[in-house]
Amino acid sequence: MSLVDSSDTCTLPKLLARNARQWPAEPAIREKNRGIWQTYGWADYHAQVRDFALGLAALGFKRGEKLTVVGDNRPRLYVAQLAAAALGGYSVPVYQDSIATELVYVLNHAEVSVVVAEDQEQVDKILSLRDQLPNLRWIIYDDQRGMLGYAGMAIVKSFPDVEEAGRAFARQNAGYFEAALVQGQPDDVAMIAYTSGTTGTPKGVMLSHRNMISISESFVAAEGITRGDNWLAYLPMAWVGDTTFSVGVGLVAGITANCPESPETVQRDLRELGPSGLVAPPRIWENMLTSIQVRAADASPMKRWVYETFRAVAEQVELLRSEGREVPFGRRLAYALGEVLVYGPVRDQLGLRNTRTCYTGGAPLGPDNFRFFRSLGINLKQVYGATEASALIAVQPDGEANPDTVGRTLPGVQVRVDARGEVQVCGDNVFKGYYKQDDVTRDTLTADGWLKTGDAGFVDPQGHVAIIDRAKDVGKLADGTPFAPQFVENKLKFSPYIREAVAFGDQRPFVAAMVSIDINTVGNWAERNDLAYTSYLDLTRKAEVARLVLGEIDKCNAGLPEAARVRRFLLLNKELDADDAEMTRTRKVRRRFVAEKYAAVVEAFYGAAKAVEVTMEITFEDGRKSTLTSTIDIHDIPGADALRAAA
């Protein structure tokens, strides 16, 4: 029987009440305060939610109202979300680095009346937009720092003040909280998650308690998550996955959500905690890989030799294992030695020593990166999901991890592929619709209620779902060869020097790529090679850097089919940025937008030009804009000229 079938556990706040009864003193949530981890038990967590909910009630927060949290992952922001849900309100988390226009759009579209902000910076941001936010009634802040000057503002309140008001409210309205809690039904909307959307304006995905609880139950059952496990709550709160893992899975299984001290300390906090599981988008795995590669390159020759040798051993062993073949005794012995000398210490450095399961999802992770982590003994598996499917659809069971699929559907979730190759999903995890956008909802669901994911894929004979690319991105080269840009980009991104790549080729004679270099690794490389540089822009214009990247692309090309090889490339003079709308807030490239914005570049790729002048608009964090004009060189990959001439 599912938790949603019992009236005692059918909503997230009811589950919290259950946990507070069953395991009052066990750790529910942790944060670091002044360098020391502070733990709150389930009873504590519940009491905070109750007090804050009553405080909201005292401020006039009613059923169906919306509350937004904005900030890094902090226990109080989770408390606020659950408090809103306890009163029958919706939580509408937004990205902490959203620029003004995005915030105004979401807060107005969702008619948000209460914003709970992490700190003074976020409060300032909301206050500066106050004139444009007619529905906003209260701004509540968590961190006291820098807030003394706001004491006189009627709409600004501190978190403890609201809790205190809640306790006063409770003395006059005994039983109010319990009564509000009982009213909660599984099909009430718990949150509206605005998808940053790789296309167009954000859409508000309405997810019910049933959605969140049932998918969490499935995940817990399938992955053997047990009470007392530690997870790190560090992914953006506005991303649905954070709610699913830190709130949904946390409440269902009774695991502890650990909030890092600050976004900059995640790596160190991870190491201190040694969590039992970790979910990370490919970007973070890529960063980890890069940091390992850089540190290896900086090490003494002896250490470097040890690292390279055992890394090669690990790769061979992993390859044999993934093909299901016997690992020869000698290799096994070498691997055991490597475990002591290299793999164990590296896992420890990454903070992944105690992890039973690690996940990558949200976008594809290059197969080489994937194998790299698995070869080090990290149980990295692919997950697949969508905001409209409560973050999770499929996951690779232990022992069936491979870079080419995204695993089996979770219990209670079904997948089918339509005639055009689009993956469709059905189950309790499928959302209730887009908020105030019924026409879009109708387009996204099939006549029989299945969710169209927009991903092109297939189900392999083993029963695994495999995703090729976004359905609308898969194209063909001029000669008819199928072309999936992501496939090429992921190959390129395996290079530590390449941070982001955008490949073009649909309806074109050959593949070309815009490359954005990684300032850290390329900068480091430049220093080691006595190459003076001043800025990102300066680096991208160096012939030496172009040669370095050319070498990297050459290596990638070797692993690509003849037709899909990159023939021309250029180095972008700035990093792709979410503030410029070139990426989503979850850092996926908005391919169409980029193709339009850099139309001149794309044309130049397929013309004879050796350089192209680009004018681009740069948006600063506070919304100001400026333009940057510069000439970017286009580089040919040697040996490609003949092909281009032929084309």
């Binding site: 670091k32 305060n33 002044r34 360098g35 020391i36 720092r145 820098g146 003394l148 000057g149 001290e261 600050s262 900059e264 300390t265 160190r268």
Partner: protein, 272 residues
Amino acid sequence: MSAAESLADRGAAAPILTVQGVSKKFGGVTAVQDVSLEVPDGAIVSVIGPNGAGKTSLLNMVSGFYRPDSGAIALDGNDITSLRPSQIAARGVARTFQNIALFSGLTVLDNLMLGRHVHMRSGVLASALYWGPARKEEIAHRARCEEIIEFLKLQDLRKQQTGALSYGLRKRVELGRALALEPKVLLLDEPMGGMNQDEKEDMARYVLDVNIERNVTVVLIEHDMGVVMDISDRVVVLDRGRRIGTGTPDEVQRNPDVIQAYLGTAKGGGQA
């Protein structure tokens, strides 16, 4: 910002620091000549002036690095003119330096802990054994340092050697080191020098927060007029060792002597 609103009463508060007619000569060069100023308790007072005006020398006399040739300096009504720098620090005057004075081989945390030296009571032996009261003391001091780390958002840098940090960050660590002393008066010598716009805005914010939340009186030397005019309650202008103007930022900006010192004499204009 409340700084502007409360300006009237803040300017009127009793002075915590009084400098009376101090002068300092180096050989034949007069660095500071007969300068007086009063720093009201809880205010931000900026000292501005062209290069070589004597700003840093004035600060050096307040903190005890130089002894004035004449004149007197009083803190909270007590004369401190002839005290040693360590004695002045122990009375609650902390400072940062134009050219950053940190132990570059030590971590951020250790630099802050050093800043608490004046508050440490345990002897060498007890500290070395890390036992009993010495241990308790160390923990209490660490807690205060952690407070400052949080205040200045240095969490990710605690265990980093300061020598490896960027210039802007080192300036912030230096502010932290000064704060660790728990000063009543904080002397900041060009805290924003050599910083980019972003770092300057951050630092201005920290100076305001230090002033308002930690209730520390601030004496600021700074070249960035935008910052000075934005955050100061009072401004003192020096030129060639003399005080040529004082008042609220508005008053100072209108003062003809000040305009002349900064922009030079208008053609045909008389000497003030």
